[in-house]
């Protein structure tokens, strides 16, 4: 084994997009693997949990964890990797703020299990079986992780050193983080490794952004032919760039689609969704209560739209009552 710094890359409730973002480093990945040794990377390499358990505490220089945390296994792995790593980085929207899996905090666990295992149109389960944490089979006892009552971001389970936002994070931010770790020139603990300004600030369409309230009705992308040069807000689209952190490289904007807020808030904002809500509602061009209500009818799901990537990191955290009688151990 070489004496290069060791790194881990683990996933919890995750789609695999964050792993893709490592591949998206393209030829830069050669510099990364030349400088560090991956000693745990379940998607790409055949190391097991036992290998991590056998390490000294703090043996890994850095571990990147992506995905939200919902099962006992996620929590156990987060604690184990925290112990074995000097720096723990929440990688991607889910790990940073709860991400799309975090929207499950709008539903009680029982409702989720019932839909997935019984009611979903694509499920055939006449005996209404459900996975159990313990199962006695003729061949021996089987164990599965238990399913928590709510979804958590990584820093709601373990101490986190840095955050890399994005769904998935742009490779430039991963590269910046690796370079900072290797050079030892580290930002203050708790930093989000991305520019601390709103996305609009660098948006190529900023010149056409409205300064005054001008929206009569909000539109969905499929309802209009989108002008590729004009500010998306000015076209009535729900673009969240005004209240979302920069650093994404405007991938969505350049594809002529509005920002959905995956980079999270800037540092002055405590509740990303509330900041988005403020920026959008303020643009409605009406003083009439009924007209305002009509314009807002075009936003049928504020929780899912404004908190798409961060409900667990928001001030309300979850819908009231979802964990009633469902407390986690």
């Amino acid at each position: 084994m070489s004496d290069k710094p060791k790194a881990g890359f683990y996933w919890c409730a995750s789609c695999g997009g964050c792993e893709e973002s490592v591949v998206d480093l393209a030829e830069d990945i050669l510099d990364v693997v030349a400088a560090i040794d991956f000693v745990f990377f379940p998607v790409a390499m055949d190391f097991k949990r036992e290998d991590v358990e056998a390490m000294e505490d703090g043996e890994m220089t850095v571990c990147f964890i992506n995905g939200a945390l919902r099962t006992s296994e996620h929590r156990e792995m987060a604690r184990l990797l925290r112990r074995k790593s000097r720096f723990l980085i929440a990688y991607g929207s889910c790990s940073y703020q709860g991400g799309i899996p975090g929207l499950a905090n709008l539903y009680p666990r029982e409702e989720i299990l019932r839909f997935v295992y019984h009611d979903s149109p694509s499920t055939e389960n006449p005996e209404k079986n459900r996975p159990q944490p313990h199962f006695r089979a003729p061949e021996g006892d089987l164990e599965l992780p238990s399913f928590d009552a709510d979804v958590k971001a990584l820093d709601q389970v373990v101490d986190v050193d840095y955050y890399i936002p994005g769904c998935a994070p742009p490779p430039s931010l991963l590269k910046a983080a690796v370079e900072a770790l290797l050079s030892g020139e580290l930002p203050p603990k708790g930093s989000v490794i991305a520019p601390d300004r709103a996305m609009c600030h660098t948006c190529p369409r900023i010149g056409t952004k409205p300064e005054k309230p001008m929206i009569k009705e909000f539109k969905r992308p499929w309802q209009i032919e989108i002008d590729p040069d004009k500010c998306l807000l000015a076209q009535g689209l729900v673009c969240l760039g005004a209240a979302t952190r920069d650093g994404c490289g405007h991938l969505c904007i350049n594809a002529n689609m509005p920002c959905t807020g995956c980079m999270g808030p800037v540092s002055r904002v405590h509740d990303h969704g509330a900041a988005i809500l403020t920026s959008l509602a303020s643009l409605i061009d009406s003083n009439d209560p009924q007209e305002i209500e009509d314009a807002l009818d075009d936003i049928p799901d504020p929780a899912g739209t404004f908190y798409r990537y961060g409900l667990p990191h928001s001030l309300l955290y979850a819908k009231c009552g979802i964990t009633a009688g469902n407390g986690d151990a």
Binding site: A274, P289, I292
Partner: protein, 165 residues
């Protein structure tokens, strides 16, 4: 005489209501209610803001997160805003926030917006009493517990990376 004659004391639930009142109208009205020696429920903690347009939805959510059972917003009547349009800004945000709060299982009566002019001390009295009664009926607000909540209050200090600011 038996020793144990005391009846069990059942404490009535006293809602905590945070009120954001605009300086020019509703706060002046609540001042007038005070100087006129009007009595009303003591459950509100009034925070004076210069304009209802200053009330960031984050203030409301933070009040609820930190223990308020309800939030009352007070601004000038439409057309009377000292800054011309601030109360309309408040209305637009409040209209959208209400939809979000409903999705999060927070009852409609807990967050309320009222236009109360400077002379309407009786309206401050009436609205406050009414809101306290309604929230007493609803009971305390129980938000879901945030694990490791300190992470939320010490928002990370961010740095620039990946490009010049």
């Amino acid at each position: 005489m038996p020793d144990d004659v005391s009846l069990p004391v059942v404490e009535e639930f006293q809602p905590r209501i945070v009120a954001f009142f605009c300086n020019w109208c509703t706060y002046t009205a609540s001042d007038l209610a005070g100087t006129s020696r009007m009595t009303y429920a003591p459950n509100t903690r009034v925070i004076r803001v210069m304009c209802s347009g200053r009330i960031d939805p984050q203030f409301i959510l933070t009040a609820l997160r930190r223990g308020a059972d309800g939030v009352l917003l007070g601004g000038c009547r439409p057309g009377d805003c000292h800054y011309r349009e601030g109360n309309y800004k408040c209305l637009r945000r409040f209209t959208l926030l209400k939809k979000y709060l409903a999705q999060m299982g927070i009852e409609e009566q807990r967050v309320r917006l009222e236009w109360i002019a400077a002379s309407e001390a009786d309206r401050v009295q009436k609205v406050t009493n009414q809101m306290v009664d309604q929230i007493k009926n609803l009971g305390p607000l129980h938000l879901e517990h945030i694990p490791h909540a300190e992470a939320l209050h010490d928002a990370p200090v961010a740095v620039a990376a990946g490009g010049a600011p």
